[in-house]
Symmetry: C2
Subunit: 369 residues, 2 copies
C-alpha cells in the first residue's frame, strides 16, 4: 500500500468512554487504554494508518483533559497536530476545523475521519478499503463512508441504506438513519442493503469545506477564522474564543443526513462495505466477547490477572492486573479493579456502568472519574 501524499487522517479522540469505568477516567479515556493488547486503542489506530499516511499528516482532535496523555502516547506527532477543543462541539466543527486548516495548507487534501477507540481485525483489508475510499473521495465532490456489514440487529448504531451499485464493492448511499428500534433493526438486517455507520468518512477538504459552508454557514465562517490563525501566535486565543460559538452538531446530522435525503443521485455519497473485523468495543461485555472470539476459550472466562483458578465458573470477564484470580461458582460476571475502585457487575448489566460515572459526577467524587 503506497502512502498518498495528500491523505490526512483526522482521529477523533475527545470521547470519555464512561462504560469502561473504573479503567476509563476523564484523563485516561477509553482510547488511551490498551483494551486489546499492549498498545492503547489510539496507538493502534495510528499504527494502522501509518502505512497510508506519514506521521506528520496525522491529526488528532481531543480535549484538554486528554491532550497531554495523548501526546505522550503518540510521540511521533507534534503538539500542533493534537488539537484540544476548548469545549466539545461534536464531530461537525471538529472535522470542519481540520478541513479549513488543511485546505489552506494543501488544496488537494483528502481527509479521513477516524474514531480512536475501535478495533480492527484485518488491518490489510482495512487499509485496502481506505485506499479505495481515498481514491473515490479524490474524484469530484464525492463523500465516502465505510459501512460495516451488520451481524446482529444492533440498536445502538446508526444505519446506512445502500442504493444503486457503483461497482463490485461500492454503493450509492440512499439514506442515513438514526439508531433504530429492535423491530426496525431486524428489518434492516433482513433487507441486506443496510450497513452500520462506522463513523469513518473520507472526503476532500474542499468538498467538506463547501458542504459546511452550505449546511452550517455560521459555524463554517467561525472555523475559517480559526483556521486563518492556525500557525500564528494568535491561534490559541482565537480557537478559545470562537470555537465555543460553533454549533454543537454531528457531521452525520449536519451534512450527511440532509444531503442524502435531498437527492440520492446528486448527493454523491458512497458507501464502501467493510469486512475487516470491526468492533467498537462499546462496553465490557463487547470487550469480553471480542477476547472470547480471539482466544477461543472453552469456558468463556477471560481472567486478566497473574494466574487463576476456576471451579464451575463460566463466561466471566475479570480485570485484575498482577493478582491471582480465583472464581468459584460464578457465571457471566464482569469484575474490574483498579488502584482505587472495584466494579462488580454482570455481562448483561455492563451497559449501565455509565450510571456509576454519572453518580460520581453528581457527587463530585472527581478523583474517581
Amino acid at each position: 500500500m503506497a502512502k498518498r501524499s495528500n491523505f490526512y487522517p483526522v482521529i477523533l479522540a475527545g470521547g470519555r468512554g464512561t462504560r469502561f469505568w473504573p479503567l476509563s477516567r476523564k484523563r485516561r479515556a477509553k482510547q488511551l487504554l490498551p483494551l486489546d493488547g499492549k498498545q492503547s486503542m489510539i496507538q493502534q489506530t495510528v499504527d494502522r494508518l501509518l502505512p497510508l499516511a506519514s506521521a506528520q499528516r496525522l491529526w488528532v482532535i481531543t480535549n484538554d483533559d486528554l491532550q497531554g496523555a495523548i501526546a505522550r502516547q503518540l510521540p511521533r506527532l507534534k503538539r500542533t497536530q493534537i488539537l484540544a477543543e476548548p469545549v466539545g462541539r461534536n464531530t461537525a466543527p471538529a472535522i470542519g476545523l481540520a478541513a479549513f486548516v488543511l485546505l489552506r495548507m494543501d488544496p488537494s487534501a483528502i481527509l479521513g475521519l477516524f474514531p480512536s477507540d475501535h478495533v480492527i481485525g484485518d488491518e490489510k483489508r482495512y487499509r485496502e478499503t481506505i485506499a479505495r475510499g481515498v481514491a473515490l473521495a479524490a474524484m469530484g465532490e464525492n463523500i465516502v463512508v465505510l459501512g460495516i456489514r451488520p451481524t446482529r440487529p444492533e440498536t445502538g448504531y446508526g444505519y446506512i441504506e445502500a442504493g444503486a451499485q457503483l461497482d463490485s464493492n461500492a454503493w450509492r448511499v440512499r439514506r442515513f438513519t438514526e439508531k433504530p428500534d429492535l423491530h426496525k433493526a431486524n428489518d434492516f438486517l433482513a433487507a441486506g442493503n443496510y450497513y452500520w455507520n462506522s463513523g469513518m468518512f473520507l472526503w476532500s477538504a474542499r468538498t467538506l469545506a463547501n458542504a459546511l459552508r452550505e449546511h452550517l454557514p455560521k459555524t463554517a465562517s467561525l472555523l475559517e477564522q480559526i483556521a486563518a490563525a492556525y500557525g500564528t501566535r494568535k491561534f490559541e486565543a482565537t480557537f478559545q474564543k470562537l470555537y465555543p460559538k460553533c454549533e454543537n452538531i454531528s457531521i452525520d446530522y449536519a451534512v450527511l443526513e440532509p444531503r442524502s435525503a435531498k437527492d440520492e443521485g446528486a448527493a454523491n455519497i458512497f458507501c464502501l462495505p467493510a469486512d475487516f473485523g470491526w468492533n467498537d468495543l462499546g462496553s465490557w461485555t463487547a470487550l469480553h466477547e471480542h477476547h472470547v472470539a480471539k482466544q477461543k476459550t472453552s469456558d468463556a472466562n477471560i481472567l486478566g490477572g497473574d494466574g487463576n483458578f476456576t471451579l464451575d465458573a463460566t463466561g466471566n470477564y475479570v480485570h485484575a492486573p498482577g493478582k491471582f484470580v480465583a472464581a468459584v461458582g460464578v457465571r457471566d460476571l464482569v469484575v474490574v479493579e483498579t488502584e482505587d475502585a472495584l466494579l462488580i457487575t454482570t455481562r448483561e448489566r455492563a451497559q449501565d456502568v455509565g450510571k456509576i460515572v454519572k453518580y460520581l459526577d453528581e457527587k463530585k467524587l472527581a478523583k474517581l472519574t
Copy 2:
C-alpha cells in the same frame, strides 16, 4: 466478675482458616484477622477473657508460622506463654501439654480451652457462663463443656446430647456425637436437648492429666516429659523431639466421647448451655450473615471499601479496603481482594474456598497461601 487466681485460659490458635482465603494465609490465619472489628479474633478472645484471668495466666498454643504474628498482636503475653507446636497434633496433645505444665506450677489450676477465632455477641453472659463453669470444674473430677443452643440444623458441628438436669442451667452430658447428616441434625434440633459443641471446655489440670493418662497413656507420658523440661534450657529440644511422637487426636475423640459413652452418671461431664451470641464464622458466608445481622442493612450488602454505589444489588459481601466499590445488578456474591489475589464466588459456594488453597498448595504457589 472477679478474677480467679487459679484459672488458666488456654487459647488454641494453630488453625489455618483456609476458607477465609485470600485474606487468611499461613502466616496470617483467620484468628489474626480483624473480621469483626478493629481487633483480630485472637485479640478479641484475649480481651474477653482478661476480666477472668490476668494476662500472665493466659496460654496460647499455635505453630511456627503464626507464633511471631501472635506475639506481636498480644504484647501483654510473654513469649513463654505462646507455645508453637513443632507439628500439629490436634487438640488432645495441645491441651494435655498445658495441663501437665500447669499441674507442676499450680496443682489447683483450672484450665479453660478456647478457640481463638469465634465471635461472642454478649461478653457479659459469656464470662458469667465461664465463671460458673470454672466453679463447677473445680469440684471433684468434673469436666464442663459449653454448649450452644442450635438455631438451625447445622451439619458442620458436633452435637452434645444433654441428659439429667443438674440445676437450672446445667445438664449432665449423655453423649457427644459426630457431625450429623441433615436428617439427624433436624431430629436434634426438634428434640430440644441437643447443643452444638462449642469447643470450649473447662476442667482442672489434675482431672485432665488423669483423663489423658487413662485414655492416651503413651501420649500422656510424652507430654509429662516435655512438661518436666518446661522452663529449662532443654525445653525446646525436648518439645521438638517428643511432641511429634504424640498421637494426632482431638480431645473430644480421645477423652470426651469414650467417657460419655461409658456411663452418663459416672462420667461427670456437664454441659452449660450458652446463649451469648456465639458464631464461629466458618466462612465468608457466615461472616456476611454476622455483619448483616449487626448492621441491619435493608439490601443485605456488606461492602467493605472506601465508599460505594449500588444499583439492583443485594446480599453481596465485598472486601476491598481503600477502594470505591460499585455493584450493579449482582446478588449474593462474595468478592474479596488483597494485594495479590482476587476471590470471586457466591455466598452459596463460599464453603469451597478451601479448595482454592488446596490447589495453591498442590501447585506450590506458596506466596499465595
